[in-house]
């Protein structure tokens, strides 16, 4: 790598990098917990209100479905600034790690909602019919049977979303969200320091691999039943 002339001063950069890793993990974790829970709810509502399903409701399904179809295709980098007013109202600012979490959580909830819905729709309707025939309540069927039935694919879906959220967090860095994306832009891209960029890439790959490994392992354990 002799092309890279700039000798990186890791002595002063390392603490900044460490801070960035912490920020990324924090953003991703909060987004996954809040967005994941909201997404599960959105997905469950979408599934249950579908025509012919447990809580079939044309209006609720139609509105929610439309909302997701509108939000989901917006490129995240544009979405970040588009929801600025919401971010300001919730976090009090549009800059920094806390502010980045707001658009990340909204987008994650919407995408996870769709992922959850798709996995629930794949659950054998015969299971719902059997539970109805037994006389179970609809809420108990939805949360006690349908979601557990789809647990393995749901875990894989969430693992997939973990990676997507890491991706989002990097973009959040572009608008001052902090984290590894921010680090790569400031110390790598803007200072022509390819080494800093590659180190960031390596760390992100490691984070993603850890997440994928845990997700696959959990799904395997559930599937083995």
């Amino acid at each position: 790598m002799s092309a890279v002339r700039t000798a990186t001063d890791w002595g002063s950069l390392a603490p900044v990098l460490l801070q960035s890793i912490q920020e990324t993990v924090y953003m991703v974790a909060v987004t996954l917990v809040i967005g994941g829970a909201a997404g599960l709810l959105i997905g469950a509502v979408l599934y249950a209100t579908r025509p012919g399903n447990l809580f079939a409701n044309r209006v609720v399904f139609g509105v929610l479905n439309l909302l997701i179809n509108v939000i989901r295709p917006i490129p995240f980098i544009i979405f970040l600034t588009a929801v600025g007013p919401v971010t300001k109202a919730v976090a009090g600012t549009t800059l920094g790690t806390e502010a980045a979490i707001v658009p990340m959580t909204i987008m994650a909830a919407v995408v996870i909602g769709r992922v959850v819905e798709q996995n629930l729709v794949a659950v054998d309707p015969g299971i719902v019919e059997a539970a109805l025939a037994i006389g179970a309540k609809r809420f108990a069927i939805l949360f006690g049977l349908v979601i557990p039935e789809a647990l393995a694919p749901l875990i894989l879906g969430y693992t997939f979303m973990f990676i997507a959220v890491v991706d989002m967090s990097a973009m959040a860095g572009y608008i001052g969200g902090g984290g590894l994306g921010n680090f790569a832009i400031i110390y790598g891209y803007q200072q022509f320091n390819q080494e800093a960029t590659w180190v960031t890439v390596a760390i992100i790959v490691v984070i993603v691999q850890i997440g994928q490994f845990i997700g696959n392992g959990l799904a395997q354990r559930v599937l083995r039943r």
Binding site: G126, E129, A131, G135, L145, P148
Partner: protein
């Protein structure tokens, strides 16, 4: 309505029941049931038979209120399904067990978890559930599978779990929707035997939905034949089999008992010489048929057909080869015809050219 003793008590009654489904984007409006009347008595095993699309599944879903009638009155265990509230319907479903063609087990739960589910729904105490589940699994013969997950079980074992789950909460009524259609013949026999035992030892009324006449033949006291959403024949199984009132019933019955030979089979039989006479066997048993032949001094050999047994009574059609003069034959056929359906069999077209008589078809009586 729940007295166990005393005279027959109607557990299911349909009075002029129709069920239509409105037109959707995918298809036009459908009339699944059309003016159906029926009554099921406590303790009986009733078969509902018909081809797919005959309305059988709709009928069973009306019984447990998964569907509501668009016309008429459905009364089940004293509950008017059409006007019952959601809570009343859940209560009713708790008194009705159901088993399915594809078993519909909860794959995320163990066998134990599946069987315990209706008990939890019915509000059983935890300490009562465990022994009840163990007892049920022993009853259906899979006591060693409590901790297995459904995917590790064979089809027959899955249906046993389905049956244990269906009868767990002591239902008064068991609905079996094509419960043996996904099983091989041997497993089907085992499951039917289990259902029979449930009916006999637990006194649970069973309604069996099927397209397999053999299931009705082996299991059911009463049968309801459905075609195009209507009941075309119904009553005591033997009566319906022996004296079908609908063309569809005859078609089903001929699958159990070989009827009168036709086509190439008939041509081959005719080549064997003599005269062919076929006679239905019902209350007019094969022994009685033999007596008629003997009375007229006619040597007779069974060459085609079959007789089956329905609760100790014969049913079937036999074709005999006889050698006798024209006059005697006429007298025999005339006498048989007064007691059952009998006929002389002749070649469908012109008499075939004489060739070597076909063998192999002959079965001496």
């Amino acid at each position: 309505m729940t007295e166990r003793d005393g005279g027959p008590v109607t557990v299911i009654s349909f009075d002029g029941v129709s069920k239509g489904f409105p037109a959707t984007r995918r298809g036009s409006a459908v009339s699944a049931l059309d003016d159906v009347d029926l009554a099921v008595e406590r303790g009986s095993i009733v078969g509902v038979i018909g081809y797919s699309g005959a309305g059988k599944s709709t009928l069973v879903r009306l019984v447990n209120g998964l569907e509501k009638p668009t016309a008429g009155v459905v009364e089940v265990l004293g509950v008017d399904v059409g006007s019952a509230s959601a809570t009343q319907l859940r209560g009713l479903r708790g008194r009705i067990g159901m088993i399915f063609q594809q078993f519909n087990l909860f794959t995320s739960r163990t066998v134990r978890g599946n069987v315990a589910y209706p008990l939890k729904v019915a509000g059983w105490k935890k300490q009562d559930i465990a022994p009840r589940v163990a007892e049920l699994l022993d009853f259906v013969g899979i006591g060693d599978k409590a901790n297995s997950f459904p995917r590790a079980l064979s089809g027959g074992q899955k249906q046993r779990v389905g049956i244990a789950r269906a009868i767990a909460a002591n239902p008064e009524l068991l609905l079996a929707d094509e419960a043996t259609s996904a099983l091989d013949p041997q497993t089907t026999g085992e499951v039917l035997a289990l259902l029979k035992e449930i009916n006999r030892t637990l006194g649970i009324t069973i309604v069996v939905i099927t397209h397999q006449i053999s299931v009705v033949h082996e299991l059911c006291d009463q049968v309801i034949v459905m075609d195009g959403g209507r009941v075309v024949d119904s009553g005591d199984t033997y009566r319906v089999f022996a004296h079908p009132r609908a063309a569809l019933t005859e078609r089903f019955v001929s699958a159990v008992t070989q009827g009168v030979p036709t086509g190439e089979t008939l041509e081959a039989l005719l080549l064997g010489g003599g005269t062919l006479i076929s006679a239905d066997v019902n209350e007019f048993t094969s022994e009685k048929a033999a007596e008629v032949f003997e009375k007229h001094g006619v040597r007779h050999t069974v060459v085609f057909g079959g007789v089956t047994d329905i609760r100790g009574r014969q049913l079937g059609t036999l074709t005999y080869r006889v050698h006798a003069d024209e006059g005697v034959l006429d007298a025999v056929v005339a006498e048989l015809s007064t007691r059952t359906r009998a006929q002389l069999l002749r070649a469908p077209d012109a008499p075939p050219a004489q060739e070597t008589p076909a063998r192999g078809e002959e079965v001496s009586s």
